[in-house]
Amino acid sequence: MLEANTVATLAYIILFAPFAAAALITVATLRSKALSAFLSVGSVILGGVLSIILLADQISRGAGAEPVVHQFTWALSRGMAFHIGVQVDFISVLMSTVVGVVGSCIFVYALGYMHGDEGWSRFFAKFAFFAFSMLGITFSTNFLQIFIFWELVGVSSYLLIGYFYQKPSAAEAGKKAFMTNRIGDFGMTIGILLLFFAVRDVFGEIDSLSFETLKGIFTNDGAREQLFAAMGWKAALGAFLIFVGAMGKSAQFPLHVWLPDAMEGPTPVSALMHAATMVAAGVYMIVRTYWLFAWAHDALVAVAYIGGFTALLAASIAIVQNDIKKILAYSTLSQLGYMVMACGLVGAGAGMFHLATHAFFKALLFLGAGSVIHACHSNDIWDMGGLGKKMKQTTWTFWAGTLALAGIFPLAGFWSKDEILAVSHHATALYIVGVGVAFMTAFYMGRACFTVFHGTYRGHGHPHESPRVMWIPLAVLAVVSIFGGFVGAPSSLNPFGEHGLQSFLLVAYLKDGVVHWPVGHGHVEAGLHLDVATVGTLMALGGLLLAWLFYGKGVLSAERVKQRLKPLHTLLVNKYYIDDFYLWLVRRVQQGFAIAANWLEQKIIIGVLVNGIAAGTKDAAARLRKTASGQIHSYVTIVLAGVTILVFWFVIFMVSE
């Protein structure tokens, strides 16, 4: 066990090393490609190594250990202080390990993928800055800090999606991602304000942004009931508004539209940010603040259904996509929906576990896709085919990722998906969604694999295997994707003890691990759940089999199905017309308001009021000027007229006296 001070220091190093790298590259080493890459990659690898040390330390501390918190004052007003610092506990360390290890693989891979790019140093600076922002979310001690880094993650995402800024589609995609997230942040900001002041209203001037302070209140029955009595329906609203922020980052319906477009970024960016880590930030925040959600039941129900709906919606769209990165993007959406659904079903531990395993195999799949794209110079799976013989390393690793994602025993995805299906078992509708999504996932991944790696090559040129710097990270991720799930296995060999990773996660949110949910009990035993495992595995195998019949063996014709289900196919290809609806909102409604406001401004306020007063003054002046004619007799006439009036008035006044 490490000293608390050491732990905090290590966390600060993990956090600030990528920042220092980004700053140094921007200020000093832009011209030296080698040095820039070394700084950037080195900082993330350092973070990964230190995270593993911290993770080992957390294991030695045991489940339910007190977090180490260190913070300093960021801004101070009388009666109100804002802090920034690090909170080191099992969840944050698990997350930083995922970011560090997956990040290291992707950074190394990028060395090969970005080879020869003119913006090399700029890319690595931004990449390192992203790692900093993401780790900032990870180690946040309070809502304000998580919001700050939340926004920084948003901006690094914007910069990296729009990395090929001369491409109009990339520039638009970056903007879309940023704006969609801003709408999520709108809710989150209000949620934070609502919660902050509600707690202050009841408990006085305490640090009611701090996670630990709030956790203390929410896990104390008396304090919590006092707070909820004062807040009423606003408690659930506050939790839901905070979840709206998570909906933006984790791309939940209806704020999911930015994620598929975000694939305009370079593939390593898609892998790290839009698959493995950044999009998981929303789920992470829910887990981090689970004491809040666990007691805000109404919000939790909404979370569960939004997650389930997103999972289903995205999986159905993924089936008809032809761009390999888009398939993976919709798959990511769907899996994020899975995690969110698990959180909503009181399975935050399952959600967090799936977050971790998903990060590995989805990063692997994206990097594999990048390797394929690199070789074929196309994103379209119908331009590929038969790559299995030409790109051996890419093929086996991609298949490993696919099977892990489909949830085939004993790969990583199997264990975490099993947990999710287990927690959803008591909510029948969502359980059916979960099982259905498992089937669809296996199908669309099988479709991609059979089309890309088997059959005959349909593209141009001669694809060949990517360089070693690219496929070694693939192999590392593949190994973790295959064996990583065992941390959730009930075994005495498990480094996390007999009850697996789960025991650490559950304890971290709720002391007793039990929360009541309107639809049933949320308590789930860690380990293997044979009944749901059987169903899940059968579904996955069925999906793969069907894909094989369509795209491998070719005994079924996808064309015929397409013709038969024409309207459905059109609906799916057009992504349920959600994007078109938003475009209409932005182009017509929002811009309509803007033009109306501008009309009011230019025509009424400036045109009529301001210039009207000016014109009136000028007009009056022009008329008055005529009286100053310069002719003595007219002046004399006016003076005489005035005197006459005065005399008359005076006389009448006197008479009336």
């Binding site: 960021w74 914007y158 811009q591 400036i606």
Partner: protein, 540 residues
Amino acid sequence: MQPTTLIILAPALTVLALFFLPANRPWLIRWFAVAGAFATVVLSVTMWLNYDKAAGGWQFAEYVPWVEDLGIAWNVGADGISIAMLLLTSFVIFAGALVSFRIQDRVKEFYILLLALVTGVFGVFANRDIFFFYFSYELAVIPMYLLIGVWGSTNKEYATMKLTLYLTAGAVVALVGLLLMYFGARDFYLQNPSMLAGFLSEHPEFAGSKAWSFNLVQVIWAAQHGAFSETFQFWVFPLILVGFAAIAPMWPLHTWSPGGHAAAPSAASMLHAGVLMKLGSYGIIRIGLTCLPEGAVQILPWVAALSMMNIIYGGMVAMAQRDLKFIIGYSSSSHMGYVLLGVASMNVIGLNGAVFLMFAHGIMTALAFSLIGWFYDQTHTRELQDLGGLIKQIPFVGTAFAIMAFASAGLPGFANFASELMVLFGSWQATLPVQVGAVTIPGNPWFYLYAILAVWGIVITATYLLRAVRWAFFGPLNPAWAGRVKDADGFLWKLPFVFLIVALVAFGCYPKMLVDVIGTGVEPIVDALTKARATLLAGR
């Protein structure tokens, strides 16, 4: 001599020196002006670092009686709010003087006017004498007329006339209020000689003061001891408010500002949006809130409502603009809405946020106008559809512009985020009741709506700024500019932009170092407001 006096003298003496420099040596003139501007940076930073936060109040004070029959004195000093504004002004004038190196036409006259203007601005922010406060305010407005009229572009005659009329008219309205306060305080001290003695024993540095005095400290003391009746305050506060709000600019008195920005040359736009607007909000806080709290607390809720027009309506209008300077111009009036909202929230965090935002917005908007000026001088267009892909051609200026847009859109790491966040917290806090002794001041539930709309305003801001960045800088490069637009190359040209960005980032990453100072100035004002609210409630 105190740094407050020096900071007013530095630009004034530079102006004087420039008169005697030969007009055919432009570089000599430029460097001289920059040296004068840099001196103010040194002075303001010195004051900020040496300000005693524990003691608070007026520091670096100096008092030399001048026209004793009227009670006019050279009476300067700085509190926490002034310090922030002095820092802002010196940063902007330093960057502005550097940016203006590109001016080729009548260099000498340009710098004389620029520094005369800034003398006036320093004169307002460092003054404790109402007469000089007003005098300096006018001194700041008049050179702007000439700067736009002579060196401007885009409909400049109309714009400069409108600007000057608005600001002068506003000043006259404020002057009526100021004179009423002057006479009100005089009558108070004449009728209660013991009060004058009381004031002098508390403030021995003003020994020899008569009952009639333009000394702000003396007028505030009178206000604190009941010189101004509630009715008086209720009628005089609107005069101060409207007079200064015209320059702030509060809706619907804002229409002079976007056109003025668009017409002005770079450095004038920088000072205009960066600093002149803050004279308005500073005046409202310094004179209105401090001297007339019982009037202020009754009117400010309406100001909060009007600030929504600034934020939402201003943002919507900005969204419909195609000219970059008009976008930033309307964005400025939108951002100033947050300042007004912070002021109207009447609590420490809200006012801290408002003052901090005045600082942050000033720097940010100065950066915006200096960058737009950089490529406008070469492209002669600011229409979004005529630009396009410029970052390829001018990567430094383009990157700096994107940074500006992020700052303006309220991204963490920049002072704008920290300050707008504080305003939001302040606004929400205004919905909570305040307990003063036995009196409970009820919260104002309207502020829920204001806070929510203000958060939405940040979304609107991001919409039009990202769109501007997207169309002006990203996408394919417009072939008309390929090889024709020069980037800021070399230390000298980059310096003003880097300087402003560093200021935004430094105070954005660690806001405490400025907010602590601002807080010492804000707290007594909020206490006075709270007391006034309690008094009014108890009286009813």
